[in-house]
Symmetry: C2
Amino acid sequence: MGNGKNKDYFLGIDLGGTKILAGVFDAKLELQGDSKLSTKADRGVTAVIDRIARCAREALDECDLDLKQIRGLGVGAPGAADSESGRIIIAPNLPGWKDIPLKKELEKRLGVPVFVGNDCNVCTLGVFEQEYKARPRHLAGIFIGTGIGAGLILNGELYGGHNLTAGEVGHMVIEINGPKCGCGNRGCFEALASRTAIFRIIQSAVKDGQKTVLTDMLGSGLKDMRSGDLRKAIRRGDKFVEKTVLEAAEYAGVGVANVINLLNPEVVVLGGGLIEALQDEMMPVIVKTAKEHALSGTSSGIEIKASKLGDHAGITGAAVLARRGVT
Amino acid sequence: MGNGKNKDYFLGIDLGGTKILAGVFDAKLELQGDSKLSTKADRGVTAVIDRIARCAREALDECDLDLKQIRGLGVGAPGAADSESGRIIIAPNLPGWKDIPLKKELEKRLGVPVFVGNDCNVCTLGVFEQEYKARPRHLAGIFIGTGIGAGLILNGELYGGHNLTAGEVGHMVIEINGPKCGCGNRGCFEALASRTAIFRIIQSAVKDGQKTVLTDMLGSGLKDMRSGDLRKAIRRGDKFVEKTVLEAAEYAGVGVANVINLLNPEVVVLGGGLIEALQDEMMPVIVKTAKEHALSGTSSGIEIKASKLGDHAGITGAAVLARRGVT
């Protein structure tokens, strides 16, 4: 693929709490090669930055390209990012990540221009440019996994807000007397519809004697339960798991409707680990519930879909960030 | 005030379901004169448009100006407005108002350039330009009265969304199993914290035997209860009314927090009839609850305040709309 001459490639990095993904893209956003590494966040900030650089080099090696052929590198990080200065303001899931000059550190290590952004914003950017060809004026990306976050494209541009923290949809209250959330409040979207919320409900029911095939699959402690296990359990006919997942999908539909009523976007795209694994089960319920709860004038003509980019949304969006940055 | 020569005045019209307000402003947005007329919506669309024109002329007469001195007229209407074509797409509280060419009809009657907008957007514009001197980049105006609506200034501009219906914050669900809302869903912001919601709770409690000074003031049917009556009852020491109002304020605080978490504005301004009448009682609770429910990074540096424009927000914003339109 790489011909050794063409310098028109971009690196996209998805920095997560447990893993780092790197992807090399050509200027048309076609993926040329990728690589994956565990984050090892507990080794500290410098070690993680070293691992990002290593993951980037490995992705390049995969597709026989080298850093000289890279015009720019983008990173989506799990926290608040100041895209102007290239600093990570804070990343709550990465110990020690407070006011880290990530752009500067990566440029030192790799010698290419670096651009940083918040992970949900970056995923939304990837969906917007790659999947939707930058056509919609207003698009909301809602990502449901361990937590829930969103990125907003308003008037064709990423919207950051006053402190660059816009899109904290996971802490929108939708059931004021609902279950306790990690943030200290009750009934947040994230406490009702995230993978964490579903696991909490299942684990607590199992403790109370609920039968489920999940205990056959994973043992009575349900250790290392993943989204894919929920899908397997449902496909094996486990009605309890199905009911729990579909209830979470209903909450997710209400969360989507709240975003629609407030922002009246043209497109709402859902992504994240839980949606990827349980798309077939959850999406019909999410779409139905969202349309029931959105005002008719507001939801007319709106498209609510799961992203096709799956796990690649982050690296794609990070490459878009780099492409936007250098041009 | 009018010297018969200067043509630098603007008319602002606030078209409501029960009353029409008109105000004449100079180019610095100082109010020169105003006028008020009942809407008489049941007389039909043409009659209401005639009354808007009459109200405008009466406001001019109040301050010894005439239409020749008016550069433009703005109208805030209770519904979806297409500001490009000057049509009211739909106004649910005004019978017959569907696809009405309000701009064209008023220009025919008054001979000045006319600009139309949604009432919450227009009020927000007034607060933004007059009260905040167009300084904040991101400002949300939330108006609590019979219903609840919002206007959004994002990146310094009014945000409309795909169908120009953005800001339908009143139908954001915050208590999924809460009381039924007019829209058919349960637990909408409007069903929990509007004047209508408070009146419903009070009326139902009185039916169940609850004692309140409101029945001394208004009779046992609580006919024609207004926001000001709630304030009077609280100031006479009515603990039941106080508790009901403060609970609504808590819900309002959660609604405000949801907007903050999603949009991370710099300023949230509250207005509307309920806030005007009960500002001293409600605002401390709204601010406290909103700050408790907003993520700390998101709410840091944010200002949450009641508008000082009160009843004049609509006419001021409509004048701003006209001033923006002609320049």
